[in-house]
């Protein structure tokens, strides 16, 4: 029979297992601490891991990116304004959009009319505009259509220059400004998130740990503060303060810590009545020791997760404020101001909007995915 064939194992291999006292009681696999478990779960999360890599790359680029070109943050030169993106090697792959050509479709009553419109649009440099007829037209209004490609680098005699991401309306290099802007946005987000963290943990920790009257008073104050919409507070603060990095950080932290304070208070209240805290107290540990050695490590997970979600919020608010004209002021660059300039030129020079928009989206997605990953990692239910 088949089953017998499969079981053809030489008899001499089958040796009875020796039973001894110590091995039978041994538990296989070493036990892991909570943090090791959390790390394992996080490292298994491919999306979160990719996000970390993307984010580290963006951070490194915001540090070294501006030095990769010879242009400065505020190198204005109107003769080279609104140049499209052009990258060596990649310029030969037309669909990538790094060719350094401006291109658009023009309509007219006949081909000549459309061509004239195209040339007028492109600085009247007829020699450098390449016309491709899409439809001949029948003489009626806007029936003919041509596709014009304008080699602006050639026309301006800048064939040796490469603006990797193009230039803005004042001829400033977008690559340089993009990474400097990222640096500013990241700085604002990180500083705002960490100040919020410090205030929130201290406030919530004190309220939760001491409880009673202290907690009552602190929570009443917090309740009133939470009732005021943070959008309103941020807008009011930005009106009063001078625009700049510090004011944005101040405006964001004034409201940013309340969420953290509530969470930390809840956690501390839950933890402080646990047996191990009672044991530590009975053994005569000081309040400070109990807080730093026993409580903080146990709520660190929730603090980290909360901070990871605060950072993208701060990035969004910075961009939002700069967008409505209350945030960073020119010539300072931030992702918000870059996007704002991009919107002013969206119809004719979409590349000015595309790159900062992609970058801010990438940053936000990465932070959110890392936050999700950490939430899973610190959730004991997810450990396998």
């Amino acid at each position: 029979m088949d089953t017998n064939n499969n079981n053809k194992i030489p008899k001499e291999l089958l040796v009875p297992m020796k039973k001894t006292e110590d091995t039978s009681e041994k538990i296989s696999g070493e036990s892991r601490t909570f943090l090791q478990n959390a790390r394992r779960t996080f490292l298994k999360n491919k999306l979160a891991l990719t996000s970390v890599i993307v984010l580290v790359f963006i951070l490194i680029m915001s540090a070294v990116g501006p030095w990769m070109t010879d242009y400065e943050l505020d190198d204005q030169d109107l003769s080279r304004a609104k140049m499209p993106a052009r990258v060596p090697v990649l310029e030969n792959i037309s669909w990538l959009g790094f060719t350094g050509y401006l291109s658009d479709e023009f309509e007219g009553s006949d081909v000549e009319d459309a061509t004239n419109k195209a040339i007028a649009r492109y600085d009247n440099e007829a020699d450098f505009v390449d016309i491709e007829v899409i439809s001949e037209g029948d003489g009626s209004r806007n029936s003919a259509e041509v596709k014009a490609t304008y080699d602006i680098y050639e026309a301006k005699g800048m064939k040796d220059e490469y603006f990797w991401l193009g230039t803005d309306t004042l001829g400033r290099d977008q690559w340089t400004r993009l990474w400097l802007g990222t640096r500013v946005s990241m700085l604002i987000a990180f500083v705002a998130a960490f100040i919020s963290l410090a205030i929130g943990v201290a406030y919530g920790g004190i309220a939760g740990y001491y409880g009673g009257k202290v907690d009552d008073i602190m929570m009443r104050i917090l309740e009133v503060l939470v009732g005021i919409p943070n959008l309103v507070v941020i807008l009011l603060m930005m009106l009063v303060l001078e625009p700049g990095i510090t004011s944005i950080i101040v405006a964001l932290t004034i409201t940013g810590w309340t969420g953290m304070a509530r969470i930390v208070r809840g956690e501390v209240m839950k933890l402080k009545s646990q047996e191990y805290v009672l044991a530590a107290r009975t053994l005569g540990q000081s309040n400070w020791k109990v807080i730093t050695k026993h409580l903080l490590p146990n709520i660190s997970g929730i603090i980290i997760i909360n901070t990871m979600f605060n950072i993208p919020d701060a990035i969004f608010f910075e961009a939002f404020l700069s967008f409505i004209g209350l945030g960073m002021a020119p010539p300072q660059a931030s992702l918000g101001t870059l996007i704002n300039t991009g919107f002013d030129n969206i119809m004719l020079y979409p590349y000015m909007l595309v790159f900062p928009a992609i970058l801010i989206s990438l940053i936000m997605i990465a932070f959110n995915l890392i936050g999700d990953g950490l939430r899973d990692a610190f959730d004991p239910k997810m450990h396998k």
Binding site: E223, V224, G227, I228, P229, N230, L231, V232, L235, L236, L239, V240, P312, F316, A319, F320, F323, I324, G325, L326, I339, G342, F343, I346, M347, P350, L353, A357, I360, S361, M364, I365, F367, N368, L369, D372
Partner: protein, 309 residues
């Protein structure tokens, strides 16, 4: 319950009072007065202008007048559009903003709930991943980026919708889509998480054992329970709609409250800025209040325990 509502309304009024006071004194701290915008005026003319805006009185009296005006719905007179009360400006511009907000909220939530539902049913399947990706993108990507993308592709390139301005229903389609992304993504995430949990609970097994049809289980037993926590995210959704109204009305040149706010910021029209801020605050606080009451109403567990906290 009545006592609870009374307490909450009082809290709300106190908060509004604080915001009004805060914004009044901030307004006094700011540089600039209606005189800046005028041509060179004689002493008497200046006095007349100051009289018109009530700026001659000492600040405490101005404060009392301001509060008295607020109670009657009078938000002062705009600096930029002289002689126009801020209340009138805001009333004029309420329509487009309200329409956009309502459309975005309703359409976004409905689509979001459906997405979440589909994801939960095909748990860990292809559709689940697709809708999870949509949800992550929707909560992460700023709404103005979406707005730019929509405007460029659908209006400028493919010419399917008007690029900007306000008028017919078609004008409202692109802004509504840009605005509804966040409510949609949030609803999808919440409903999915809740639905997965609810579908795994004992009463669903009981329902199955009793022979309830699959649609009955999903919609009657599952969805109704999974939707309850959705009420708690109405707050963040409201904030997103307000920030969204500012940027998206600006991008699509819609004559709404958000656009008014941004323009007022540009010209330092403080009374209008403060009026808009107060309106946003009142709206937000009102929404949170309604949310909390609603939560007590639809979740019997909270109602029974005496109105929650």
């Amino acid at each position: 319950m009545a006592r609870y509502i009374a307490k909450r309304v009082m809290y709300m009024l106190i908060t509004l009072f604080i915001i009004a006071t805060l914004s009044f004194f901030l307004m006094k701290m700011l540089p600039g007065s209606p005189l800046n915008a005028e041509e060179k005026l004689t002493e008497e003319q200046q006095a007349i202008v100051l009289e018109k805006y009530g700026l001659n009185d000492p600040i405490p009296i101005q404060y009392v007048n301001y509060l008295a005006g607020l109670v009657q719905g009078d938000l002062g007179i705009s600096f930029a559009f002289s002689n126009t009360p801020v209340t009138d400006i805001l009333m004029d511009r309420m329509g487009p903003s309200a329409q956009l907000g309502a459309q975005a909220l309703v359409v976004g939530t409905v689509i979001g709930v459906l997405l979440g539902l589909i994801a939960a049913i095909s748990h860990n399947g292809f559709l689940d991943y697709t809708s999870t990706i949509i949800a992550v993108l929707g909560t992460s990507i700023p709404n103005f980026v979406f707005a730019g993308l929509l405007q460029y592709l659908f209006a400028a390139e493919w010419e399917l919708f008007p690029v900007a301005l306000w008028g017919s229903f078609e004008h409202s389609i692109l802004p509504t889509i840009a605005l509804m992304i966040f409510p949609m993504a949030t609803a999808a995430r919440f409903v999915r998480t809740e639905m997965v949990e609810v579908l795994g609970s004992n009463f669903i097994t009981t329902a199955r054992a009793k022979g309830v049809s699959e649609p009955g289980i999903v919609f009657k037993h599952g969805l109704r329970n999974a939707m309850i926590p959705l009420v708690t995210v109405i707050g963040p959704m409201a904030v997103s709609l307000m920030t969204g109204s500012m940027v998206i009305e600006q991008i699509f040149a819609i004559p709404g409250i958000g656009e008014q706010f941004v323009n007022s910021v540009m010209v330092n029209d403080y009374p209008t800025i403060m009026g808009t801020t107060l309106l946003f605050a009142a709206l937000f606080i009102g929404i949170i209040l309604v949310t909390d009451l609603l939560y007590g109403l639809i979740d019997p567990r909270i109602r029974i325990s005496g109105g929650g906290k």
